[in-house]
Symmetry: C2
Subunit: 152 residues, 2 copies
DNA sequence: AGCAATTAGATTGTGCGCAATTCTTTTTAG
DNA sequence: CTAAAAAGAATTGCGCACAATCTAATTGCT
Protein backbone atom coordinates (compact mmCIF):
# COMPACT_ATOMS: atom_id res chain seq x y z
CA UNK A 1 0.00 0.00 0.00
CA UNK A 2 3.04 2.29 0.10
CA UNK A 3 4.95 3.70 -2.82
CA UNK A 4 8.61 2.82 -3.37
CA UNK A 5 9.40 6.30 -2.06
CA UNK A 6 7.73 5.54 1.28
CA UNK A 7 9.78 2.42 1.70
CA UNK A 8 13.00 4.30 1.07
CA UNK A 9 12.03 6.89 3.66
CA UNK A 10 11.01 4.23 6.13
CA UNK A 11 14.32 2.44 5.82
CA UNK A 12 16.19 5.69 6.29
CA UNK A 13 14.16 6.84 9.26
CA UNK A 14 14.64 3.46 10.78
CA UNK A 15 18.33 3.74 10.21
CA UNK A 16 18.49 7.09 11.88
CA UNK A 17 16.52 5.92 14.91
CA UNK A 18 17.40 2.38 15.91
CA UNK A 19 20.91 2.94 14.62
CA UNK A 20 21.30 6.12 16.68
CA UNK A 21 20.44 4.11 19.77
CA UNK A 22 22.92 1.42 18.82
CA UNK A 23 25.69 3.87 17.94
CA UNK A 24 25.14 6.07 21.01
CA UNK A 25 25.21 3.12 23.35
CA UNK A 26 28.53 1.98 21.93
CA UNK A 27 29.93 5.52 21.90
CA UNK A 28 29.12 6.05 25.56
CA UNK A 29 30.58 2.67 26.48
CA UNK A 30 33.69 3.66 24.53
CA UNK A 31 33.91 6.91 26.48
CA UNK A 32 33.70 5.00 29.76
CA UNK A 33 36.35 2.49 28.74
CA UNK A 34 39.57 4.40 29.58
CA UNK A 35 38.23 5.41 33.00
CA UNK A 36 37.04 1.88 33.76
CA UNK A 37 40.30 0.37 32.49
CA UNK A 38 42.00 2.29 35.28
CA UNK A 39 39.75 0.45 37.74
CA UNK A 40 40.26 -2.89 36.01
CA UNK A 41 36.57 -3.11 35.07
CA UNK A 42 34.55 -3.55 31.89
CA UNK A 43 31.40 -1.53 31.36
CA UNK A 44 28.96 -4.38 32.14
CA UNK A 45 31.00 -5.22 35.24
CA UNK A 46 30.69 -1.56 36.28
CA UNK A 47 26.91 -1.73 35.86
CA UNK A 48 26.74 -4.84 38.02
CA UNK A 49 28.75 -3.09 40.72
CA UNK A 50 26.49 -0.02 40.50
CA UNK A 51 23.56 -2.26 41.37
CA UNK A 52 25.43 -3.97 44.20
CA UNK A 53 26.49 -0.58 45.59
CA UNK A 54 22.89 0.62 45.40
CA UNK A 55 21.83 -2.51 47.22
CA UNK A 56 24.08 -1.57 50.12
CA UNK A 57 21.80 1.42 50.70
CA UNK A 58 18.54 -0.25 49.71
CA UNK A 59 18.85 -4.01 50.06
CA UNK A 60 16.49 -6.08 47.91
CA UNK A 61 14.55 -9.04 49.25
CA UNK A 62 17.29 -11.33 47.95
CA UNK A 63 20.58 -10.21 46.38
CA UNK A 64 20.55 -13.08 43.92
CA UNK A 65 21.58 -13.57 40.31
CA UNK A 66 17.89 -13.52 39.42
CA UNK A 67 17.29 -10.15 41.11
CA UNK A 68 20.38 -8.72 39.42
CA UNK A 69 19.18 -10.01 36.08
CA UNK A 70 15.80 -8.36 36.55
CA UNK A 71 17.46 -5.06 37.40
CA UNK A 72 19.85 -5.10 34.42
CA UNK A 73 17.63 -7.05 32.02
CA UNK A 74 20.30 -9.72 31.63
CA UNK A 75 20.12 -13.48 32.05
CA UNK A 76 22.35 -16.01 33.79
CA UNK A 77 24.14 -16.81 30.54
CA UNK A 78 25.62 -13.33 30.69
CA UNK A 79 25.81 -12.82 34.43
CA UNK A 80 27.27 -16.12 35.62
CA UNK A 81 30.62 -15.77 33.80
CA UNK A 82 30.74 -12.01 34.52
CA UNK A 83 30.20 -12.60 38.24
CA UNK A 84 32.86 -15.30 38.25
CA UNK A 85 35.28 -12.72 36.83
CA UNK A 86 34.30 -10.21 39.52
CA UNK A 87 34.81 -12.97 42.05
CA UNK A 88 38.27 -13.79 40.73
CA UNK A 89 39.07 -10.06 40.93
CA UNK A 90 38.19 -10.30 44.62
CA UNK A 91 35.32 -7.81 44.39
CA UNK A 92 32.31 -10.07 44.89
CA UNK A 93 31.47 -13.31 46.69
CA UNK A 94 28.97 -15.79 45.25
CA UNK A 95 27.46 -17.62 48.22
CA UNK A 96 24.77 -20.22 48.12
CA UNK A 97 21.58 -19.25 49.94
CA UNK A 98 21.06 -21.33 53.08
CA UNK A 99 17.28 -21.44 52.74
CA UNK A 100 17.39 -22.41 49.05
CA UNK A 101 20.47 -24.07 47.66
CA UNK A 102 19.54 -23.13 44.11
CA UNK A 103 20.09 -19.42 44.73
CA UNK A 104 23.41 -17.57 44.59
CA UNK A 105 23.58 -14.66 47.02
CA UNK A 106 25.91 -11.88 45.86
CA UNK A 107 27.98 -10.11 48.50
CA UNK A 108 30.51 -7.31 47.96
CA UNK A 109 33.92 -7.95 49.46
CA UNK A 110 35.79 -5.23 51.31
CA UNK A 111 37.64 -4.44 48.08
CA UNK A 112 34.35 -4.32 46.21
CA UNK A 113 32.96 -1.82 48.69
CA UNK A 114 36.16 0.22 48.62
CA UNK A 115 36.08 0.54 44.82
CA UNK A 116 32.91 2.58 45.05
CA UNK A 117 34.64 5.83 45.96
CA UNK A 118 36.97 5.57 42.96
CA UNK A 119 34.10 4.68 40.66
CA UNK A 120 32.12 7.69 41.80
CA UNK A 121 34.56 9.97 40.00
CA UNK A 122 34.00 8.27 36.66
CA UNK A 123 30.56 9.64 35.70
CA UNK A 124 31.53 13.06 37.07
CA UNK A 125 34.56 13.19 34.79
CA UNK A 126 32.59 12.04 31.76
CA UNK A 127 29.86 14.58 32.40
CA UNK A 128 32.45 17.34 32.28
CA UNK A 129 34.20 15.94 29.20
CA UNK A 130 30.94 15.57 27.30
CA UNK A 131 30.10 19.24 27.68
CA UNK A 132 26.45 18.31 28.06
CA UNK A 133 24.14 19.88 30.60
CA UNK A 134 22.50 17.90 33.35
CA UNK A 135 19.10 18.98 32.06
CA UNK A 136 19.86 17.75 28.56
CA UNK A 137 20.97 14.37 29.87
CA UNK A 138 18.06 14.10 32.27
CA UNK A 139 15.57 14.80 29.50
CA UNK A 140 17.16 12.16 27.33
CA UNK A 141 17.08 9.70 30.21
CA UNK A 142 13.35 10.30 30.64
CA UNK A 143 12.62 9.77 26.96
CA UNK A 144 14.66 6.58 26.96
CA UNK A 145 12.75 5.36 30.01
CA UNK A 146 9.51 5.78 28.06
CA UNK A 147 10.96 3.90 25.10
CA UNK A 148 12.24 1.12 27.34
CA UNK A 149 8.77 0.61 28.79
CA UNK A 150 7.36 0.33 25.29
CA UNK A 151 9.82 -2.34 24.27
CA UNK A 152 10.76 -4.19 27.45
CA UNK B 1 34.86 18.15 47.40
CA UNK B 2 31.46 16.44 47.25
CA UNK B 3 29.51 15.05 50.15
CA UNK B 4 28.73 11.34 50.35
CA UNK B 5 25.20 12.21 49.33
CA UNK B 6 26.41 13.79 46.07
CA UNK B 7 28.37 10.68 45.17
CA UNK B 8 25.36 8.48 45.78
CA UNK B 9 23.22 10.70 43.59
CA UNK B 10 25.86 10.83 40.90
CA UNK B 11 26.11 7.06 40.77
CA UNK B 12 22.35 6.78 40.54
CA UNK B 13 21.93 9.44 37.88
CA UNK B 14 24.68 7.80 35.92
CA UNK B 15 22.91 4.51 36.27
CA UNK B 16 19.69 5.93 34.98
CA UNK B 17 21.34 7.61 31.99
CA UNK B 18 24.10 5.46 30.55
CA UNK B 19 22.21 2.37 31.64
CA UNK B 20 19.02 3.56 29.93
CA UNK B 21 20.96 3.87 26.71
CA UNK B 22 22.44 0.43 27.14
CA UNK B 23 19.13 -1.18 28.11
CA UNK B 24 17.14 0.57 25.36
CA UNK B 25 19.60 -0.43 22.68
CA UNK B 26 19.35 -4.06 23.72
CA UNK B 27 15.56 -3.89 24.07
CA UNK B 28 15.15 -2.50 20.55
CA UNK B 29 17.53 -5.11 19.14
CA UNK B 30 15.48 -7.75 20.95
CA UNK B 31 12.30 -6.39 19.38
CA UNK B 32 13.87 -6.60 15.92
CA UNK B 33 15.09 -10.15 16.42
CA UNK B 34 11.98 -12.18 15.56
CA UNK B 35 11.37 -10.14 12.40
CA UNK B 36 14.99 -10.41 11.32
CA UNK B 37 15.10 -14.12 12.15
CA UNK B 38 12.44 -14.57 9.48
CA UNK B 39 14.87 -12.97 7.00
CA UNK B 40 17.81 -15.00 8.29
CA UNK B 41 19.61 -11.87 9.48
CA UNK B 42 21.09 -10.59 12.72
CA UNK B 43 20.62 -6.97 13.75
CA UNK B 44 24.16 -5.83 12.83
CA UNK B 45 23.84 -7.64 9.50
CA UNK B 46 20.58 -5.76 8.92
CA UNK B 47 22.33 -2.46 9.62
CA UNK B 48 25.05 -3.32 7.11
CA UNK B 49 22.42 -4.09 4.48
CA UNK B 50 20.60 -0.82 5.25
CA UNK B 51 23.78 1.02 4.34
CA UNK B 52 24.35 -1.03 1.19
CA UNK B 53 20.74 -0.44 0.13
CA UNK B 54 21.15 3.28 0.73
CA UNK B 55 24.31 3.18 -1.36
CA UNK B 56 22.29 1.88 -4.29
CA UNK B 57 20.50 5.23 -4.34
CA UNK B 58 23.45 7.39 -3.29
CA UNK B 59 26.70 5.60 -4.10
CA UNK B 60 29.72 6.65 -2.04
CA UNK B 61 33.11 7.36 -3.54
CA UNK B 62 34.13 3.79 -2.76
CA UNK B 63 31.86 1.08 -1.32
CA UNK B 64 34.66 -0.35 0.79
CA UNK B 65 34.94 -1.91 4.23
CA UNK B 66 36.50 1.34 5.39
CA UNK B 67 33.57 3.45 4.16
CA UNK B 68 31.11 1.04 5.76
CA UNK B 69 33.05 1.19 9.01
CA UNK B 70 32.92 4.98 9.01
CA UNK B 71 29.16 4.91 8.43
CA UNK B 72 28.45 2.39 11.18
CA UNK B 73 31.33 3.32 13.51
CA UNK B 74 32.65 -0.24 13.37
CA UNK B 75 36.11 -1.58 12.55
CA UNK B 76 37.33 -4.41 10.36
CA UNK B 77 37.55 -6.75 13.32
CA UNK B 78 33.76 -6.65 13.48
CA UNK B 79 32.96 -6.16 9.81
CA UNK B 80 35.24 -8.70 8.15
CA UNK B 81 33.64 -11.80 9.71
CA UNK B 82 30.15 -10.28 9.44
CA UNK B 83 30.64 -9.58 5.72
CA UNK B 84 31.96 -13.09 5.20
CA UNK B 85 28.71 -14.41 6.69
CA UNK B 86 26.65 -12.18 4.41
CA UNK B 87 28.75 -13.46 1.54
CA UNK B 88 28.14 -17.08 2.48
CA UNK B 89 24.41 -16.24 2.66
CA UNK B 90 24.71 -15.11 -0.95
CA UNK B 91 23.67 -11.53 -0.21
CA UNK B 92 26.95 -9.67 -0.74
CA UNK B 93 30.08 -10.00 -2.84
CA UNK B 94 33.49 -8.94 -1.51
CA UNK B 95 35.54 -7.98 -4.56
CA UNK B 96 39.05 -6.65 -4.53
CA UNK B 97 39.40 -3.16 -5.97
CA UNK B 98 41.32 -3.14 -9.23
CA UNK B 99 43.04 0.18 -8.58
CA UNK B 100 44.09 -0.79 -5.05
CA UNK B 101 44.39 -4.45 -4.11
CA UNK B 102 44.13 -3.64 -0.41
CA UNK B 103 40.53 -2.48 -0.69
CA UNK B 104 37.47 -4.71 -0.63
CA UNK B 105 34.59 -3.40 -2.72
CA UNK B 106 31.19 -4.48 -1.42
CA UNK B 107 28.52 -5.34 -3.97
CA UNK B 108 24.98 -6.54 -3.32
CA UNK B 109 24.00 -9.72 -5.14
CA UNK B 110 20.63 -10.06 -6.80
CA UNK B 111 19.38 -11.83 -3.66
CA UNK B 112 20.79 -9.02 -1.54
CA UNK B 113 18.92 -6.43 -3.58
CA UNK B 114 15.73 -8.52 -3.52
CA UNK B 115 15.77 -8.78 0.28
CA UNK B 116 15.23 -5.04 0.55
CA UNK B 117 11.50 -5.18 -0.10
CA UNK B 118 10.98 -7.75 2.66
CA UNK B 119 13.16 -5.78 5.05
CA UNK B 120 11.17 -2.64 4.42
CA UNK B 121 8.23 -4.13 6.29
CA UNK B 122 10.26 -4.71 9.44
CA UNK B 123 10.52 -1.16 10.81
CA UNK B 124 6.92 -0.47 9.78
CA UNK B 125 5.71 -3.43 11.83
CA UNK B 126 7.80 -2.47 14.84
CA UNK B 127 6.60 1.11 14.71
CA UNK B 128 3.02 -0.12 14.95
CA UNK B 129 3.79 -2.63 17.72
CA UNK B 130 5.64 -0.05 19.79
CA UNK B 131 2.66 2.25 19.92
CA UNK B 132 4.99 5.21 19.70
CA UNK B 133 4.33 8.25 17.53
CA UNK B 134 6.62 9.24 14.70
CA UNK B 135 7.18 12.62 16.36
CA UNK B 136 8.22 11.01 19.63
CA UNK B 137 10.70 8.77 17.86
CA UNK B 138 12.00 11.57 15.65
CA UNK B 139 12.64 13.80 18.65
CA UNK B 140 14.49 11.01 20.40
CA UNK B 141 16.55 10.42 17.26
CA UNK B 142 17.55 14.08 17.17
CA UNK B 143 18.60 14.10 20.81
CA UNK B 144 20.62 10.96 20.30
CA UNK B 145 22.31 12.54 17.29
CA UNK B 146 23.42 15.42 19.50
CA UNK B 147 24.74 13.01 22.11
CA UNK B 148 26.55 10.96 19.48
CA UNK B 149 28.35 14.06 18.24
CA UNK B 150 29.45 14.82 21.78
CA UNK B 151 30.91 11.38 22.30
CA UNK B 152 31.97 10.14 18.86
C1' DA C 1 64.93 3.20 -8.31
C1' DG C 2 64.82 2.16 -3.36
C1' DC C 3 63.16 2.31 1.17
C1' DA C 4 60.55 4.09 5.15
C1' DA C 5 55.98 5.39 6.46
C1' DT C 6 51.22 4.93 5.74
C1' DT C 7 46.98 2.61 4.72
C1' DA C 8 43.29 -1.24 4.08
C1' DG C 9 42.01 -5.12 5.62
C1' DA C 10 42.56 -9.65 8.11
C1' DT C 11 43.63 -12.12 12.30
C1' DT C 12 43.73 -13.15 17.27
C1' DG C 13 42.03 -13.03 21.82
C1' DT C 14 38.75 -11.46 25.45
C1' DG C 15 34.27 -10.36 27.08
C1' DC C 16 29.81 -9.75 26.52
C1' DG C 17 24.42 -10.88 25.00
C1' DC C 18 21.31 -14.25 24.31
C1' DA C 19 18.91 -18.58 22.79
C1' DA C 20 18.73 -23.27 24.06
C1' DT C 21 19.85 -26.95 26.94
C1' DT C 22 21.13 -29.15 31.22
C1' DC C 23 21.65 -29.80 36.15
C1' DT C 24 20.13 -29.41 40.70
C1' DT C 25 17.02 -28.21 44.16
C1' DT C 26 12.54 -27.03 45.57
C1' DT C 27 7.71 -26.99 45.29
C1' DT C 28 3.38 -28.84 44.16
C1' DA C 29 -0.16 -32.56 43.21
C1' DG C 30 -2.29 -36.54 43.79
C1' DC D 1 5.04 -39.68 50.40
C1' DT D 2 6.40 -39.83 46.00
C1' DA D 3 6.22 -38.41 41.08
C1' DA D 4 5.78 -34.52 38.24
C1' DA D 5 6.35 -29.77 37.54
C1' DA D 6 8.71 -25.60 38.31
C1' DA D 7 12.45 -22.59 39.52
C1' DG D 8 17.43 -20.84 39.90
C1' DA D 9 21.85 -21.25 37.92
C1' DA D 10 25.19 -23.08 34.98
C1' DT D 11 26.67 -24.56 30.48
C1' DT D 12 27.07 -24.51 25.41
C1' DG D 13 27.28 -22.36 21.10
C1' DC D 14 27.14 -18.41 18.01
C1' DG D 15 27.74 -13.68 16.70
C1' DC D 16 29.09 -9.50 17.65
C1' DA D 17 32.51 -5.33 19.56
C1' DC D 18 36.91 -3.95 20.10
C1' DA D 19 41.93 -3.76 21.27
C1' DA D 20 46.15 -5.34 19.47
C1' DT D 21 48.83 -7.34 16.07
C1' DC D 22 49.94 -8.77 11.43
C1' DT D 23 50.21 -8.76 6.28
C1' DA D 24 50.26 -6.78 2.01
C1' DA D 25 49.82 -2.88 -1.00
C1' DT D 26 50.61 1.99 -1.82
C1' DT D 27 52.60 6.43 -1.24
C1' DG D 28 56.30 9.68 -0.36
C1' DC D 29 60.81 10.99 -0.07
C1' DT D 30 65.32 11.25 -1.58
Amino acid sequence: MSSPCDLEAQLKLDNQLCFMLYACSRAVTRAYRPKLDALGLTYPQYLVLLVLWEWQQTPPAQATVKALGERLLLDSGTLTPLLKRLESLGLVERRRAQHDERERVLVLTEAGVALKSQAAEVPQTLLCESGASLEELAQLRDQLAVLLKRFA
